[in-house]
Symmetry: C2
Subunit: 210 residues, 2 copies
DNA sequence: CAGAAATGTTGTCAATGGTAACTTACCGCC
DNA sequence: GGCGGTAAGTTACCATTGACAACATTTCTG
């Protein structure tokens, strides 16, 4: 028999401690913020000794990297689903991607924050490396659906378009999470984050897409 | 006599410990990164006991907030100078502001990172509150030089323009600092950060400015 | 000049990340 | 079926850190 998760959960071995720790860590992250996240607290919540995480993650950076990796996978998924549900029109896809980006960040602010805190992550970790690639590809896939067809533009301008979209959406979301758009949101009568993001994206016209 | 900074520097009282601690903290920040910054290390570098900072900052958040405040003041200054040196043409000013934004972040990456780590800052601290206002005003002043004159657009669209510029530049800088633009920079032959930022801003056309 | 306030210091505490040495369970293999 | 190796957890310990209290030394002010 593989394991007996239903009954013998109090046994010496946990069964799937790694997953349990990640889950606990994410909970802490979203409930009490990133500074409340510690190896020991995660271990405590799972009911295991404070050195148990070491076997699965090595150190703090390990745990954070694995958690971020999981986040990127889910993130990529959300972006893809959002863009695909919007059909083939480039502008629709773009807007949908932006909304999905924002939606993920709002739903999982702690995780999102962690995902972009590179000094605490080990991007050479295989899991994270793969997840980052998946995420990048999802963004590109959603954005550059047809950006390439006007091939009379320079490679720089071409790359710039993609970077521009990434920067715009990412910047918006980051500023929002850091509470830097409070003033604007308050000054415009009935504007929530999504409305504002839509307007922000509308206020730009992307050469080659529009 | 006020104080004797030149000779009696070994006296019990430091003279200007607050400033010295801020300076030391910034050095740590830029040399060894934000995670290496601690109250005790800053105190150590200044050659003072580990609780001395308490008198001037209260706690860690206090030090970080004061440091961030100082950063925002310098940041605002840099943006203003950049935009003003570019003259009156809106597009020139915009581009200059973007360059100044990027320049500050590249020159003081640690400080810049700290400035946008709101969970470690106390934005209700007067010094930080003021500095934030100064920074915000500098950005707006550089961007919205003439954005208002087309007043046939809705307030939402109007606000969106400003937010769009902020988001675009901030997002670009953040992604760059987090090393997320490495791939793009490498794939475009002779592109450095400034070139790419220029191209990014060029790839957008702002209704009402252009 | 005396006392209050500011500025620094020593000593202590709890929490944390990390390491080492040991224990317990599991798994493959003969 | 048992045996040895390894994976998974545990206890014990250490250094670092932020915070606090009690105390010492200046400096300012009335």
């Amino acid at each position: 028999m593989k394991k007996n998760e239903d009954t013998a959960t109090k046994s010496y071995h946990h069964g799937d401690l790694k997953k349990a720790l990640l889950k606990a860590a994410e909970l802490i992250l979203e409930e009490d913020g990133i500074q409340a996240l510690s190896l020991r607290e995660a271990a405590r919540r799972v009911g295991v000794s404070h050195t148990a995480p070491r076997n699965h993650f090595g150190d703090m950076t390990g745990l954070l990297s694995e958690l971020a990796a999981e986040g990127y996978l889910r993130f990529a998924d959300a972006l893809r689903k959002g863009a695909d549900a919007a059909g083939d029109d480039p502008r629709s896809r773009l807007r949908a991607m932006g909304r999905a980006y924002l939606g993920f960040a709002i739903t999982h602010p702690g995780l999102f924050t962690l995902m972009f805190r590179s000094e605490q992550l080990d991007t050479s970790r295989p899991a994270l490396l793969d997840a980052l690639a998946a995420s990048r590809s999802a963004v590109e896939q959603a954005v550059s659906a047809r950006t390439r067809e006007a091939d009379d533009v320079s490679p720089l301008a071409q790359a710039a378009r993609l970077v521009a979209v990434r920067s715009l959406v990412h910047g918006f979301v980051v500023l929002l999470l850091e509470n830097r758009l409070r003033g604007v949101m308050a000054s415009v009568p009935g504007a929530d984050a999504v409305t504002l993001l839509d307007a922000v994206m509308d206020s730009l016209s992307f050469a080659g897409i529009d």
